[in-house]
Symmetry: C2
């Protein structure tokens, strides 16, 4: 309305992030040029630098945003049994990751393209998320609901298994996400008891 023609900071900013997310996931950080991102947004390359100081910050912001969303969304109702908490974690992990495949892909594939400092910050967030699962497993062992020799190994094994769903599951296929979740939960449940 009272806005200067050509001024679109509130629109272009999110569009830059969306374009980078899509293109990084498709082609890889190193292979995607700032020109390609600008073309996807519909501006010239110089305009991108109103929204990010450089390409590295763009990558880091995407990964940090994803990990923050993940940590904000995960819940752990301590009043339930460890088994119930683990079942909720499995369902949450599959559901959350399925809903944002591009961000998940980038978070796993582009770690090595982060600077050392940025890498440490992302790894710390990842450690926090893993800690949430391990706490459930340890509580389950203490309550004699689970039999697990090493809860750290079990944590990593479960997360690797669950995240793998994103590499093959596509909606509209032979199975629904609910069926897939039920079968993964059954495997996880057996593996820890």
């Amino acid at each position: 309305m009272a806005r200067t023609a050509g001024s679109h900071s509130d629109i272009t900013g999110p569009k830059v992030r969306e374009a980078a997310l899509k293109l990084f996931a498709r082609g890889g950080y190193a292979a995607v040029s700032m020109r390609a991102i600008a073309a996807e947004v519909g501006v010239q390359v110089g305009a991108l630098y109103n929204y990010t100081p450089d390409k590295q910050s763009l990558l880091f912001d995407l990964m940090e945003g994803h990990m923050s969303d993940l940590l904000a969304a995960v819940q752990d109702d301590l009043s339930g049994s460890a088994t119930a908490r683990l079942q909720e974690f499995v369902a949450f992990h599959i559901r959350f990751h399925h809903a944002r495949p591009d961000a998940v892909f980038i978070a796993y594939m582009e770690l090595r393209n982060l600077t050392d400092d940025n890498f440490k910050r992302i790894e710390a967030l990842r450690g926090q998320y893993e800690g949430g699962l391990e706490r459930i497993l340890r509580d389950g062992v203490a309550a004699k609901e689970f039999q697990i020799v090493d809860t750290k190994i079990a944590t990593l094994a479960i997360i690797a298994m669950l995240t793998g769903v994103n590499t093959w599951f596509r909606a509209g296929g032979r199975l629904s996400l609910e069926e897939v979740t039920a079968q993964y939960w059954e495997m996880v449940r057996r593996a820890v008891t």
Copy 2:
């Protein structure tokens, strides 16, 4: 001996592949230049093209070589029980992948940098390997050793879980590879029975 000075095709060829393997694993295919590979080998960039027609072929040859090695090494002794065959598969997968972390990393991370044709060929090899595991699971279900709703899902879940070992296990740490293998086998065994 009777060799022309400066002629080192039998030495340089493998060194080019080794250098590319190491650098691709560390920095990613797109981020590694032919100049960087030449420097790692100790030659000038022009010399590389005596050993590969282009950079893409270098990547494909590494990935195809890895998958061929994997398929040649995996064994399935059909005379054993499905449980014994699965245990051997778990131990083999962890052992084989642990021995060549760079090749494994590239095989998973650089798929999107393959041309369409090359991608299809690598995916076919991967499908062959997964088929070997699924055959064990199906036989185990038929023999009532395993209870699995969907052997395809179980195949993908088990492989994702086992391959995840490479992302965190380092020799000389808290646990030996044998101990890790034993714990993964315990989780897999429970998950399918």
